[in-house]
Every structure is written in C-alpha cells, then in structure tokens.
C-alpha cells in the first residue's frame, strides 16, 4: 500500500496537451476519485501512474520514491480497464490467475485457487469461473476484470470506470461493496468516473479534472457545497445547479438581488448573513451569478407572496421525485430546474409560481465565474475540515 504523488505532470499527444500540470497527493489507504467530463484526461492520469504512458514533464512518486523510469511491471499496480482487457482465449479462472502466474508475482497454484475463490465470491461470479470471456455479458466481464485486480496485492488499485457497464441495480450494490472492500483491504485506490453519484458516494476525496488541469480537490461535500467555480458547480449535482445573472443593490443593512424574469426585472431580498454581507461590502459587488440548487427552488400553482410567475417547460418523473423545468423566457437563464415530489399533475405550458430560497445561494463572479461566497459558509468550512481529519 502506498502514497501516490504526481507533481506537475504534463503529457501531450501531438499538439493536444492532454495533461497540463497535474499535481495530486493521494494518501495511503485513501479512496481517491478522478472526476470530470469525457476527454478531460482522467484515463491518461491513470496510465501515467500505471506506467503505460510516460509523462513528458513532472514526477510520479510512490511512497516518495520517483517512479518515472520504472516500467509498469515493476510498479506493482493493478488496473481495471474500462474495456475489460480480458484475454479472450483464457477462461475466467485463467484470466484471474494470469497475473499470479507471471514470473514477477509467482504464486503457488493452491494459493491462486484460494484467492480466486475469495475474489469470485465477492464479485458474485463463482459460477462463471470456467467460462470464456465471449460467453459473458458486459457486466460479468467487468466483474471479472475487477476480480483479476483484486487477487493481486498491489500498492495501488487503478480503476477506470469499472462500474460503467453494469446495470443500475448491480452498480448500486457494487458501489457499496467496493467502498467496503477498499476499507477492509486497506488499499489505496484511484478511481476514474464521470458519474457524480459514484464520485460522491465512493471518494474520500475527489479531484475535478477539466481539459488536463485540476479544477478542485476536496471531499464530496466540500465540492458540492463550495464549488470553486461554476464548472464544478454544474458538474456536481443532477439536475444541474441554476445560475442566475443578478445585480446587487442596497446598503449594508439589506442587500437586494435584481434579475430579469420573463423580460421583467424582479427583486429578491438577500437574507442577512454576516459572511455574505461582509464579502459583498468588501468587494463592492454589483453583478454576480447566483447559484441555486434545484432543491432550493419552491413552487406553487397559486400566486403567493415572494413567488414569481413562470411557465412549465417540462416535467419528468424519476420515481421517488420529479424534475420540473420552467421557462423564464430570458436569454441568460432561460430555464430553471427544480425538484418536486412525484405524482404531480403538471401540464406543459401551465403557469407555475416559483420561489428562490436565497439563504442557500452560492455566489460566483459574473466575469471570472469563480466562487466568491455562499450562505452559511463557516458551517461548511467546518464540515469540510472535520471530514478531512477522518
């Protein structure tokens, strides 16, 4: 088990800078998630750690030891590939045994058998051991690929979207399983995903990657509640956060946010909060992007005080809840998303009245798109610090 560090790692493919100065420090026994949109460079980071690719610049360290020039065989890593990488002519059993039969990790057959039985039990695939990969479904192949990594005893597990091809039910149960397994094995694990639920559920810490750079590193809650910019805020959370382009006016006693809705300027008073008010005063903020999570927009079908009129654009029921998207007829924030209980009878184009709970708002710079402040900030900083200590 090991601590994995990358220092200013750069890697280019021709003219494309795939990694542009990646620095991460994965602690021993940590479950570290690399999270970002497709093409951000997540898999390339894994490949650099595994030694499949050589970074052009920067250091790869295992437990403080520089590994740049060590070939992948001698790094003692186990990797789960997104496309499984199973040897098609070997049975599941032989596939799982292949690493333990190599010269480097030579293990006697009795122990191989024992370890494979153990891994097969965890992965719920005892019955599949004699099959060939061509006789497996994609989900089963993925479990075999995971099992093949598990039987090793590597310094770090590298997992490239290992749950991507599983069906929803199995994915959820594997998620729980994986977290528990990693805790029991006490192994370091670096996990790539583009599913924010997976990232939040699994990661001790999450690194947000965008275009070969690290945008933010932190615990799931930290990133969710205090995203460092609008990109991260939009990435974390489904449905996506609502961003409203607003003007701030008022005095130290009471600030008001004004924004356009259906072509009219509406005003929404900002509740008192020492942190927020101090920041507005300090920076002299006039224009901000206000981020409001979908669960902090309330709706009503009757006109009410403090509610603004909009029309329903779409209504999707997703089982235990539903998502309403309203049309605000404005260029900058033409649609607002909110979460509602399911079983509502909502017709498209009906009027709906919405209320923004400003006491959960997150403020971003309207030019820079970077995080400025949020309500209850002190609370969330304390929460993040407490999680970091665990």
């Amino acid at each position: 088990m090991a601590r994995i560090q990358l220092e200013n790692v750069k890697k280019a493919f021709g003219k494309v800078q795939a990694l542009d100065g990646i620095t991460i420090d994965v602690k021993d026994k940590e479950f570290f998630v690399l999270f970002g949109p497709a093409g951000a460079g997540k898999t390339t980071i894994l490949n650099c750690i595994a030694g499949i690719m050589m970074p052009e610049e920067g250091l790869v360290k295992f437990d403080g030891e520089i590994m740049n020039l060590t070939d992948s065989a001698h790094r003692n890593v186990a990797m789960v590939f997104e496309n499984y990488a199973l040897y098609p002519q070997m049975t599941v059993y032989d596939n799982m045994a292949s690493a333990l039969r190599s010269k480097l990790y030579k293990t006697d057959e009795a122990e191989i058998r024992e370890r494979i039985q153990w891994a097969a039990k965890i992965m719920k695939m005892e019955k599949l051991l004699e099959r060939l990969p061509s006789q497996l479904s994609n989900g089963q192949k993925q479990r075999v690929a995971m099992g093949r990594a598990l039987v090793r005893n590597p310094s770090v597990f590298l997992m490239d979207e290992p749950l991507a091809h599983l069906d929803a039910k199995l994915r959820n149960s594997m998620r729980t399983e994986l977290k528990e397994m990693q805790a029991n094995l006490g192994s370091t694990c670096i996990y790539v995903t583009h599913d924010f639920m997976e990232a939040m559920a699994l990661g001790d810490r999450i690194a947000i990657i965008k275009e070969g750079r690290i945008v933010q590193i932190g615990t799931g809650d930290e990133i969710y509640y205090m995203p460092c910019n609008e990109f991260t805020a939009q990435l974390m959370g489904d449905p996506e956060i609502n961003l409203i382009d607003a003007e701030i006016s008022g005095t130290e006693e009471a600030y008001t946010a004004k924004f356009s809705l259906n072509g009219e300027m509406v005003a929404c008073s900002l509740p008192q909060d020492s942190g927020v008010y101090a920041k507005i005063k300090e920076l002299g903020l006039k224009r901000v992007d206000i981020g409001i999570r979908p669960q902090h927009i309330k709706y009503s079908f009757e006109p009410q005080d403090g509610y603004f009129k909009t029309t329903v654009y779409s209504y999707e029921s997703i089982g235990n809840k539903s998502v309403i998207v309203t049309d605000c007829g404005d260029k900058n924030h033409s649609q607002l998303r909110m979460i509602a209980p399911n079983g509502l009878r909502v017709a498209i184009d009906n009027d709906i009245y919405i209320h923004l709970e400003m006491d959960h708002a997150i403020f971003f710079g309207s030019e820079t798109k970077d995080y400025i402040v949020r309500y209850d900030e002190a609370n969330y900083i304390a929460l993040a610090a407490a999680q970091e200590d665990e």
């Binding site: 595994a50 499949i52 992948s72 065989a73 990488a85 002519q89 292949s98 190599s102």
Partner: protein
C-alpha cells in the same frame, strides 16, 4: 408502359429480386467453376483428340506412375512445405515489428515491402532470370564474386534452383502476408498488452499468450492460401526457366506438368486427370489443416 410495369413488378417482387441480386455470382460460378470441374472430371476418363472424344476408363490415370509426374508432384509438395515454413513466420515477425510503438517510418517500410506484390510475375521472373544468370557478369555472380566465390550456374543446379525459387517467393509475397497480419494485429485491443505488462508479462510472453492466440484466424487464413498458392505455383518457374522446360525437370511443378500434357502435347485427357489429382490433394491437405486448427468446430458466441 405495360412493359415497364412488368419490369418493375419483376424487380420489386420480394421473391424474385433476391435471385436477381445473386444471379451474377451464380452464373459465373456455374459457367466457369461448376461446369469446368464437371467437364474436367469427365475428360479425365476420355481420350480427347481433335474432333472426337472416346471413353477410355481410367487409362489416363496411369499417368500417376509416370516418373516425371511423380517428380513434379514431389517438387510441388517440397515447394509448398518450405514456402509455408518461410511465409508464415517471417512476415509475422515483420508485421509485429511494424506494428510496435517505437518503430519509425512505418508506412515507408510497409510500402517498400508491398511493392513486389504489385509487379507482374512475368517482369519479376525475367528480371530474376537475368539476375541469376550463369555468366560471370550476372548480378548475383558479381555479388558472390565480391566475397571471393566462383560463379555459380544458378538455374541448372538443383539446390540453387530451389534457392532462387524461394527467394522469388519471399521477395514477392512477404509484403502481402505482412498486410494480412498487420490488419489482424490492429484488431487486437491495446489494453490487453497494457494489462499484461502491468501484470508483469514479458514481451515474449505477451507475444506467446496475446498476439498468437488473437492472430490465429489470420494465421489460419494465410496458411490456407499459402498451401494452395504453393501447390499451384507455375508462373514463377515458367518465367525463370524461360518456358516450361527446366533442366532434368528440376523446377517442373504439378501445374507445369499439367500444362505440358494439356497444351504442349495436346493431351487434354491426361491433363484433366492430373487436374483431378491436384484438386483432391489440395482439398484434402487444406481440409486436414483447417480441421486441426479448429475452423470447422462450432464456435459458441
């Protein structure tokens, strides 16, 4: 108008249209393959002389005991075995090299190795005949002369005849077989090799346990066409010896013998008998080979 509607009805009919589409193949197959094979078998039991044909039973098959037939059969088999032994592994190694990451100028080498396949056998045969000439001034004799060797009568010594034939074969077909292998190699997912190298497999192990098994369908295909190509070899020998007349039949192949019987001595009956024997040999050899390689076994997928 009525005519067009009939035509349309015909072409747009679900029952007829499929037959129209496969007709070109079926017709050419029936005329040029099925009929020819049938007529070859028939002729092998006939005496074909000018105007008339008469059935003479298995008389033509007496040729099997002809010593020149036996020699040419031996030549063909020897040529097939050695050319397969050369043409399966050498292009494979070249293809693996050309497919490997550190290799530079891949497409240049690929083109260079492929060019010989584009030249005509006739031109290549003539040029090689001149290169391997008997005179001191011929290209190959000059080269061995640089190493202090006496000139060799290349095309009239049995051992060097084979050397020349295999050299032509290698020169001409390496690029083609290499292309087959390359297309096969490119189908193998790269992450298999990555996974194997992470798990500590050496380059040789990766070749043995990933490349060979995953390339097997291509290897079987190359082997099949090489066996047929080896048995059917004729034009190389014909061009190199400037006609179908190698000294003491040292370079006469089965097809060469067939050609001599049928077209030089106008004995189509015997030629047909040789053709039947040739067909049976190739069929049996390839059937055995494919059965060993498991092509006929039912694939579960």
């Amino acid at each position: 108008m009525k005519k067009q509607s009939f035509f349309r009805k015909f072409l747009y009919s679900q029952k007829v249209a499929p037959y129209v589409f496969i007709a070109p193949f079926v017709i050419t197959f029936l005329v040029f393959f099925a009929y020819s094979i049938f007529s070859m078998v028939m002729m092998s039991f006939q005496k074909v002389a000018g105007a008339g044909t008469t059935f003479i039973g298995t008389e033509n098959y007496r040729v099997l005991s002809n010593s020149i037939f036996q020699k040419s059969l031996k030549n063909s088999i020897f040529y097939t075995i050695v050319s397969c032994a050369l043409m399966i592994p050498i292009p494979l190694v070249l293809a693996v090299m050309l497919n490997s990451k550190p290799m530079r100028a891949k497409s240049t080498f690929r083109s260079i190795l492929f060019i010989p396949a584009l030249t005509s056998v006739v031109v290549a045969g003539v040029v090689f005949r001149l290169m391997f000439g008997e005179l001191e001034g011929s290209f190959m004799n000059q080269i061995i002369g640089m190493f202090g060797k006496a000139p060799i009568v290349w095309l009239r010594t049995p051992s060097t005849v084979w050397l020349v034939l295999f050299f032509v074969c290698l020169w001409r077909w390496t690029g083609v077989n290499m292309m087959y292998y390359l297309s096969g190699l490119q189908q193998i997912p790269a992450d298999l090799y990555e996974s194997a190298s992470i798990d500590g497999a050496s380059v040789m192990q990766q070749f043995r346990y990933i490349t060979i098994p995953l390339l097997k369908p291509t290897i079987v295909y190359v082997l099949t066409i090489s066996i047929f190509g080896g048995m059917a070899m004729f034009s190389e020998s014909y061009m190199i010896f400037n006609g179908n007349k190698s000294p003491n039949n040292v370079g006469t192949t089965l097809v060469g013998f067939l050609y001599r019987m049928g077209f030089e001595q106008n004995n189509l009956g015997i030629a047909s008998a040789v053709g039947v024997v040739f067909l049976l040999i190739v069929l049996v050899v390839n059937a055995i080979q494919l059965a060993i390689n498991g092509t006929f076994s039912r694939k579960e997928n």
